[in-house]
Symmetry: C2
Subunit: 279 residues, 2 copies
Amino acid sequence: LGVVKGYMGFTGVMGHEFVGRVLHGPADWKARRVVCEINCVCGRCERCTSGLSNHCPNRTVIGIDGHPGCFAEQIAVPVRNLHAVPDPVPDEQAVFVEPLAAAIQITRQVDIGRADRVVVLGAGRLGQLVARVLKHSTDDLLLVGRHEMKLQAAEKQGIRTAGSEQFSPNRDADVVVDATGSAEGFATAMQAVRPRGTIVLKSTVALGTEINLAPLVVDEITVVGSRCGPFPDALGMLAAGEVDPAALISRVMPLSGGPAVLDQARDPENLKVLVDVRR
Amino acid sequence: LGVVKGYMGFTGVMGHEFVGRVLHGPADWKARRVVCEINCVCGRCERCTSGLSNHCPNRTVIGIDGHPGCFAEQIAVPVRNLHAVPDPVPDEQAVFVEPLAAAIQITRQVDIGRADRVVVLGAGRLGQLVARVLKHSTDDLLLVGRHEMKLQAAEKQGIRTAGSEQFSPNRDADVVVDATGSAEGFATAMQAVRPRGTIVLKSTVALGTEINLAPLVVDEITVVGSRCGPFPDALGMLAAGEVDPAALISRVMPLSGGPAVLDQARDPENLKVLVDVRR
């Protein structure tokens, strides 16, 4: 939806979260069920050789920046981007590996203890996954969202929730994750986080907004930008049954349905809408 | 100067960096030469008892928020805020303990290695101290400022410098410290820091500005707000001769000179202007 709004000025085939089967490729990959990292990197520059390949300045990004996406019957991708999906993980789980990895990335960047008060702002697709992952790190988790149906989906997984209207930020959260995708998310996060606390930014808020950064200094807040994450860890969590993202699937639509898929994805009543490219 | 512009809406006696001698107080402090922490805290609230007393919600701040400042012949302060100044540290050094501690705080919040590329934006009072402190942490330090005279002061201490016009941010710094006190500082810091790098915010930029936070997420930048620091460490660095802030003193003026002191402090040709309250 962000790409449709103009994010990265992308034109072409959209879609960057997918599971598929290798049709053509090296013998050892042939016919294997795979998921695929979205950054297609050069492998030669300073960033690539220093462990920051996700930030390769020569990279293209599948379905987002300079590389055709997965809303298609077939897609060509670099072999090194592939990860084999373990047999016990069904397609409906594997298709979540990319955003699940992005959620897991938070635990790589921020040290979260069992007693830490963690607030996740935004109960949409990403916020749901973030809450499901962080539930394994802390005993004091709260997911804040606007839509009752989405909050109920989280409650069913044992996640404590609050409606945006009921939530009164009180500068007492150790960690606040902004997964709202809205400009107000950051302002709310600033009100919710305690002094010396951490705000994790997961929203690529494309529009500039009026932000007073003085409180960051006065309260010594740390803001951590967080994007892509480790695919192997995400596959591991799925294989171990530690998260069940399949419950987030609101509907599966055929690729032949065209832009109607986007209309469904825009509907706040829907969480995840999958595209079946075989139909 | 920030307070004069309206920071914190403070009215009263200004000034929060000082060295003095105890006139009235407990016997063991009598006549001792002291410096003084600026946060006057309650000592009883949850923040105080959990090691975050600098963020006590009931605090007053000397010369900044609810507590008279040091531009006076005498000042009353909590005993627990005092630190004795070691004999070998002269007044002209000791008066820098508060901002020097604030500079040292960066090394407490961010892990800086000898090979890390560190850029300090702003060659004013705080930027100068930050550069002098971080020189001890990294071999690759650059101080960026606007005034030739200020850059020369840093060069004399073996600090590499660049004029703001000559400096071309190249997204390759591991750590960027924004000590500019200007709204543009943060924008420059975003251009200078590498992906997964760290921006330390030392400016309490009081005005909201149009800031696009998307690059923070895309490049996975960490922003660390940083304010007050450890007085004992600052006194230790001074006693060991590891920093020499006295060279930053442009002039010493009598308290009886009144607001002319502020005019001198505003003059970009001046670095530190001291007030001698005995005159």
